[in-house]
């Protein structure tokens, strides 16, 4: 009862296979001629052979082509002799008038096979080698037919009748019903109200009614033959929304139709499992985007379930579907049902069955899935309880595989839940693994869980898990600096738990996955679905123009062709590798190389955009937009944001709002609109503490921004207070990287308030932090502040400040954003001006150049305060030089900026 033995490769004779056999008879007739009758050239003959080869290869696919489709394909393959081929095919079918003819047909098939001892082969003779692919196919067909009972033969016979009939009836109606396709698609979903309404019209066209369902299937089949190929693309062109959705709808409804229609033929377990895997991938990638209709999938799954009640994986797919359409109760219900029926023994191919515990079922996987589901629906506490139970049970049953996955899931859960909220949760639950770490901080617990999971995954050779654990580890090392706090200071050793090298190492280890998979791709093609790729590949050169046009839009996936066969990379693997690129981008962002970060994000967005989940895709977009804002100004950034908003409208827990608030805040600060900035700040703070728990990082960011707002409002003491308490929070929660920026902020505050002496230690501390954590860009910016502080101590320090600045200049100009660069330029000018040994009249160009640069960049940024300063300085210099006209220009610019600064509300109106 529980579970189902996998009868892999059960092979059933279907009408389609009989067609292939007929064609094989043509290809290799038993009468031995050098070139059989209809072929005029050897290449023609070979072409048919190649086509047949691909047909036999794809016979494990879930969809078998209809007779008409086959004929269409033959038309392309057969060229001038296509008429003869199709005639022969249909005649052969119509000559099958009784079950006895079938019996004779298969007896004849035996004749085209050569004898097993191939010694007696003459030169020109065409003989099917029984051990060749085609020969094997014929032998399997014959064997499967011989195994059939008489009832089976009868069923085959009646299904052949249907197979031929459909082809005949549809060819007549194809054109007529093409126009009202849309009304027809609704036909089968029509409920009885419509039915009663339709009765009147039906009376007029009763004969039509009789044929429509079949015709409909054919019509949609014919059209979606092309569409099925373009399904992937359809999601990309979702701008043409209506069109795309129609395409998707049409293709899914054909799935239904085909499935129902072909239910006469038995599909093997193997085929359906492969098909379902494909569907699961589709749900996961397009799950929550608007162009994907979950109700259609649902109804189709329901049908499938009716057809194959013992196929439990359908429940799992329903769960996935419900999960992505955010239906908690239905998802829970289906998940539980799936595991009740399958006992976790079916469908988890990623987890090889660990020996010995199959008797008890593998319900720990149920717990793992349930935990992840709770997490997704935002019940972290429940999720943690369930996962703890999963750990316990898998330890009990010594299922190390599941344990490794569970630990990984737990660490993700802990790291994503934020930090403040977890401490209470972990206190209540206990488990053998987590309890050892109960005295540790959450980060340390995450680290331990990850290590444990990695160790197990490594020993069990779970490649995907190893890779994703490496990535998680890299992320962890990047984010959490494990620095011995006692040995703080310049004298302490510079060795800490994290350094870019180890992050890089982890990422690289993660990316090894792809090479692993390409080397073992032969073992990975367990899915029946993959075999259909053969046919598609072969058809490319002959296919209708629709397909060849598509190949240009599919360029993105050519990357994979470099590695191996185009389809040998499963979606989950490419998703993981995509994630590694995102992580690289993030790490470069932190370490301060903007071009590298941008490049990696772009790589991700172009190569992995299709296979990634939409939330990852969103993240890539957000990164690019942030980059735009920093380096190209707000106008471009907001334009891009608008596009992203449309694209990722439906992503759950979207971060777009967050980014928008951040951008608005920055811009308000630059424009000098303190009130607006304060409002944005408050909203950010609101986002940080949701019902799910407090997102500590977001909270820190919000208070950092608050301090900056206060600073902009010139409330120095309050700003300093906020920054101080923020520093304490960071210290408490071990947020080292944030500490560096808080220190820098404190230095800024003291600089602005005129207490340069007080600011110096903060700036120095910040620099020391940055150095030890390799935060190069932040380091440069801290150096700039330090230099500014020195200058603030008096003009006699100008030389020293200038030296400091010049030291940081390469970094600032190479990687810094607009604001930082402008600040550096202006400061440089300031230094020169306050340097007593410098005279404007002799060397004005150095100053003017940098000032011009600064004011250009600030123009884009709408940073009025600095821009005003730059133009003021320019005006002064021009004044000294006596260039009146230019002085007036600079002064006008200065006035403009000052006015804009004083009336920030004018600007607010044209904000998005």
């Amino acid at each position: 009862m529980a579970g189902l033995p996998r009868t892999a490769g059960a092979f059933a004779v279907t009408p389609h296979k009989i067609s292939v056999c007929i064609l094989l008879q043509i290809y290799a007739p038993s009468a031995q001629m050098s070139l059989p009758f209809p072929f005029s050239s050897v290449s023609q003959h070979n072409r048919l052979g190649l086509y047949l080869f691909s047909l036999t290869k794809s016979c494990d696919d879930i969809f078998e082509p209809k007779l008409e489709e086959l004929i269409n394909q033959l038309r392309d393959v057969g060229e001038e002799m296509d008429a003869w081929l199709t005639d022969h095919l249909t005649n052969r079918f119509s000559s099958l008038a009784s079950p006895d003819d079938l019996l004779n047909f298969f007896n004849d098939m035996r004749g085209i096979l050569g004898s097993l001892d191939s010694g007696a082969v003459q030169d020109d003779q065409i003989i099917l080698d029984p051990n060749s692919n085609l020969g094997m196919f014929v032998r399997r067909c014959i064997l499967a037919f011989n195994l059939l009972s008489f009832e089976g033969v009868c069923h085959l016979f009646s299904s052949i009748e249907d197979y031929c009939k459909v082809a005949h009836s549809s060819s007549a109606q194809f054109d007529a019903s093409n126009d009202n396709l849309e009304s027809l698609t609704q036909y089968d979903q029509m409920d009885m109200e419509n039915y009663v309404m339709g009765i009147a019209t039906e009376e007029l066209s009763v004969p039509f009614h009789l044929h429509t369902p079949e015709a409909l299937i054919k019509v949609t089949e014919g059209i979606t033959y092309g569409l099925r190929v373009t399904r992937k693309e359809s999601s990309r062109i979702s701008k043409k929304n209506t069109e795309a959705t129609r395409v998707v709808c049409a293709s899914t409804s054909t799935l239904e139709d085909t499935l129902v229609d072909e239910s006469l033929f038995l599909r093997t377990n193997f085929q359906i499992q492969g098909f379902l895997m494909e569907q699961a991938d589709a749900i996961e990638t397009h799950g929550s985007s608007s162009s994907f209709s979950s109700s259609l999938v649902e109804s189709f799954l329901e049908q499938l379930q009716n057809l194959a009640p013992e196929l439990h994986r359908v429940h799992f797919l329903r769960y996935l579907n419900k999960l992505h359409s955010d239906d908690y109760f239905a998802a829970l219900d289906n998940l539980l049902r799936y595991f009740d029926y399958s006992a976790g023994n079916e469908g988890f191919d990623l987890v090889p069955p660990s020996t010995g515990c199959s008797m008890y079922g593998r319900y720990e996987i149920a717990l793992l899935c349930l935990g992840m589901m709770h997490f997704r629906f935002g019940h972290p506490n429940l999720a943690l309880e369930v996962l703890t139970e999963a750990v316990r049970v898998s330890q009990q049953l010594s299922n190390d595989t599941c344990l490794a996955y569970t630990l990984a899931a737990m660490s993700t859960l802990l790291s994503e839940m934020g930090i403040a909220s977890t401490s209470s949760v972990l206190g209540s639950s206990y488990s053998p693994v987590t309890s050892t770490a109960s005295s540790l901080s959450v980060q340390q617990r995450v680290y331990i869980l990850l290590k444990e999971s990695l160790r197990r995954a490594d020993s069990l050779k779970l490649r995907r898990l190893v890779a994703s654990n490496h990535l998680a580890m890299a992320k962890f090392e990047l984010m959490h600096v494990q620095r011995p706090l006692l040995s703080f200071g310049p004298k302490a050793s510079v060795r800490h738990k994290t350094c870019p090298v180890s992050v890089c190492k982890e990422i690289r280890l993660g990316a090894h996955l792809i090479s692993d998979f390409s080397s073992e791709s032969s073992t990975m093609t367990v899915d029946g679905s993959l075999s259909s790729a053969w046919l598609k590949d072969l058809q490319k050169p002959w296919g209708p123009p629709v397909i060849s046009q598509d190949s240009s839009s599919r360029k993105s996936s050519t990357f994979f062709q470099l590695c191996d066969h185009p389809v040998s990379i499963p979606g989950s693997v490419s998703q993981l590798i995509g994630a590694s690129y995102l992580l690289r981008a993030t790490s470069w962002e932190l370490y301060g190389s903007a071009p590298m970060a941008r490049m990696n994000t772009l790589v991700y967005a172009t190569l992995f955009g299709d296979s990634s989940s939409s939330s990852d895709g969103e993240l890539a977009y957000l990164k690019l937009i942030q980059h735009l804002a920093l380096y190209k100004g707000y106008k471009d950034a907001f334009a891009a944001l608008k596009i992203a908003e449309e694209k990722f409208l439906t992503v759950p827990k979207s971060k777009i709002l967050l980014l928008k608030l951040q951008l608005l805040h920055e811009r308000a600060l630059h424009c000098g609109n303190v009130k607006l900035a304060q409002r944005m700040c408050n909203e950010l703070g609101g986002l940080a503490s949701t019902a799910m728990g407090v997102d500590m990082e977001l909270k820190v960011e919000a208070s950092l921004r608050e301090a900056r707002t206060l600073l902009a409002a010139k409330q120095y003491s309050q700003a300093a207070n906020v920054a101080h308490s923020l520093f304490c929070t960071c210290h408490k929660f071990n947020l080292q990287i944030e500490k560096a920026s808080v220190l820098l902020l404190l230095a800024e505050i003291h600089k602005k308030s005129g207490n340069a002496v007080l600011g110096l230690p903060y700036a120095l501390a910040s620099i020391s932090f940055c150095q030890s954590f390799n935060l190069d860009l932040l380091n440069a910016s801290a150096t700039l502040t330090l230099a500014e502080l020195w200058l603030g101590l008096g003009s006699n320090h100008a030389k020293r400040a200038l030296d400091l600045l010049h030291g940081a200049f390469p970094m600032i100009l190479g990687h810094g954003g607009l604001e930082l660069r402008a600040r550096a330029y202006i400061f440089e000018a300031n230094c020169y001006l306050s340097d007593p040994s410098y005279s404007v009249s002799t060397d004005s160009d150095t100053i003017l150049d940098s000032l011009r640069q600064a004011s250009d960049e600030l123009q884009d940024l709408e940073f009025h305060e600095l821009a005003a300063e730059a133009s003021y300085l320019m005006a002064m210099v021009y004044d000294k030089l006596g260039r009146v006209e230019e002085r007036e220009d600079a002064a006008a610019l200065f006035k403009k900026h000052i006015i804009a600064l004083e009336n920030p509300h004018d600007v607010e109106q044209n904000m998005p």
Partner: protein, 579 residues
């Protein structure tokens, strides 16, 4: 109140009409109700009345004579009268007679072929019905032929499409009779069009209420009380039967019992009503009463197999091995290939602890009827006994999927998962079962125990569950004791004392003794002593003195302590003095 006589006349006519149309099970049901009506004593000599129950053959002969001789007009019809349908075609065509005999020999296609050109309503119905049954038969065969690795059962009745087309055309043309409507309803239901099927069946039973099969189909389409209430049904006494059955299926047992009470006024000897009443009582867990009813039922109708599985459940619950084996033997001789018989035998083996054999018989029952709910659940129980949890879970889950309101199966699922050491996972199932039966203390206690497991250790939640169990009148008294202990564990001594006292009261009322009693007494005595309520403490101590064993010594020392405290001596010094 409907007059018995009119009922009788209606049913008599109906039986003839129904069996004329080969609707045999409806005719059978009607026949049972016919003899269930109390005979008019004036029509019988005293010697006849002893045949009232038991041998019905004499009475039937008697009554048929009577119906022919005295065609009484219906009197006192308070409810909306449904006119008896006129006998159409008094002379059946020859072809009809042939078709009917083919039908009776189960040659359905032949029967429908014979009637291919007949246009009378009766012939059309029989033709369609025969066609439908032929399709059903073929479907069953195909189901076995086509059984693939995935348990594929997509065999469909291939006649449904043509039948639907024909019947809907007839309906539009208005040339369909109530039997045709019934068949149309069945076809629509098979095709999955429930709302239209319901409409068609309602129309059928409103025009011809005596077709019990139609009512049964209608009942199976009423999955919620809202649907049931929305039906627009004419008043007729058959409707009361329908409502009784429907209420029962919707777990509204008291309403259902009321209906059957009412019907018993007319059909006072109906076995059907008695069995239905027993069913309702069983759901209300009145086992003794149910046993008596079934015994009587078997006396009157010794070869009855229907509903006997329920009787076996009662016997199982009462652990009456001998009676159960007697029953099993009897049904085995009557008809061994009925799902009910297999189930009874399975129950017997289960009671004997031979779980493998029990499973075999439950399996057989399920082979005979795949949707046999209680067999799935019982098989789950057997697998639990055999420690084959995955199989048990599978069986329970099938039961739940057949009827999501089956609280036993939900409970079984929870239990199975708890057995596997997944209490948190099990909780969800316990919650489900409690949702469907919130008044059962056993379910609450099971859930509380789940919370109490060492893995979860969620004592507060456990306490809440036990409290609910106490409110549901927990007969076994586990909840009170557990509540007291839990409070004691959490060092809430006042609450603990409260519940110990309550538990003590209960045990006193039921005259029970045992370790629980000692525990309660010891705790109460010490508790009151520490709170300086010496009188209460003394009472409990003296009660303890009645028993021998270590508790007695404990009580003695407690008493000593109390005396000391009362006299004001420092108790510490005097503890050591032997008395």
């Amino acid at each position: 109140m409907v007059s018995k006589e009119s009922c009788r006349n209606e049913i008599r006519a109906a039986i003839r009409q129904l069996s004329d149309r080969c609707l045999y099970s409806a005719a059978k049901w009607a026949g049972e109700q016919l003899v269930g009506i109390e005979q008019d004593p004036s029509n019988f000599t005293p010697s006849n009345t002893r045949f009232q129950r038991g041998s019905s053959s004499i009475r039937r002969r008697f009554s048929t004579n009577e119906s022919i001789s005295t065609p009484l007009p219906s009197v006192g019809f308070s409810q909306a009268a449904t006119p008896l349908p006129e006998e159409d075609e008094t002379i059946d065509g020859d072809l009809y007679l042939l078709a009917k005999s083919y039908f009776d020999c189960r040659e359905y296609r032949r029967a429908s072929h014979v009637l291919r050109d007949q246009m009378s309503k009766k012939s059309v119905f029989l033709r369609c019905y025969a066609l439908y049954l032929a399709g059903e038969k073929r479907k069953e065969e195909e189901m076995i032929e086509l059984e693939g690795p995935l348990g594929k059962s997509d065999a469909i009745n291939r006649e449904l499409v043509s039948l639907e087309r024909e019947l809907s055309a007839l309906r539009r043309a208005g040339t369909i009779d109530s039997f045709g409507l019934y068949l149309y309803g069945v076809v629509l239901k098979e095709k999955g069009n429930e709302s239209l099927a319901r409409a068609s069946l309602v129309e059928s039973v409103n025009s011809y209420p005596w077709n019990w099969s139609a009512w049964l189909e209608l009942q199976s389409l009423c999955t919620s009380i809202e649907i049931l209430n929305s039906l627009n049904l004419n008043n007729h006494w058959m409707k009361e039967f329908f409502l009784g059955n429907a209420y029962q299926e919707l777990r509204m047992h008291t309403e259902s019992l009321a209906k059957y009470d009412y019907l018993q006024g007319i059909f006072s000897f109906s076995n059907y009503i008695q069995a239905q009443t027993a069913k309702a009582q069983y759901s209300l867990r009145e086992f003794d009463q149910v046993e008596i009813m079934f015994e009587e039922l078997l006396r009157n109708d010794p070869y009855r197999v229907e509903d006997m599985d329920l009787y076996s459940n009662v016997l199982y619950a009462k652990e009456a091995c001998a009676a159960l084996s007697y029953l099993a033997h009897k049904v085995f001789l009557t008809d061994k290939y009925r799902p009910e018989s297999c189930c009874i035998i399975g129950n017997y083996y289960s009671l004997k602890g031979q779980h493998e054999k029990a499973v075999m018989y439950f399996r057989r029952a399920l082979k005979l009827n795949k949707k046999y709910l209680s067999a799935w659940t019982l098989m789950g129980h057997e697998y639990v006994e055999m420690k084959n949890t995955p199989a048990a879970i599978d069986a329970y889950r099938r039961a739940v999927d057949i009827n999501p309101c089956d609280y036993r199966a939900w409970y079984g699922l929870g239990q199975a998962y708890e057995m596997m050491g997944m209490p948190f996972y099990a909780l969800h199932y316990f919650r489900k079962s409690i949702f469907f039966l919130p008044n059962d203390s056993r379910l609450w206690i099971a859930m509380a125990k789940c919370y109490q497991t060492e893995q979860l250790h969620m004592l507060e939640e456990a306490i809440k569950c036990y409290k609910r169990a106490v409110n549901c009148t927990d007969t076994e008294g586990i909840a009170l004791n557990q509540l007291a202990k839990l409070h004691q564990k959490l060092e809430r001594n006042d609450e603990a004392a409260f519940y110990f006292e309550k538990d003590l009261e209960r045990m006193d009322a039921e005259g029970l003794e045992g370790p629980n009693m000692f525990e309660a007494l010891v705790f109460l005595a010490t508790h009151f002593k520490t709170h300086k309520k010496f009188e209460e403490a003394e009472v409990y101590c003296t009660r303890l003195l009645d028993y021998s064993g270590p508790e007695k010594e404990k009580a003695k020392s407690l008493l000593r302590g109390i005396r000391m405290a009362q006299t004001g001596f420092p108790s510490m010094d005097l503890e050591h003095f032997p008395i």
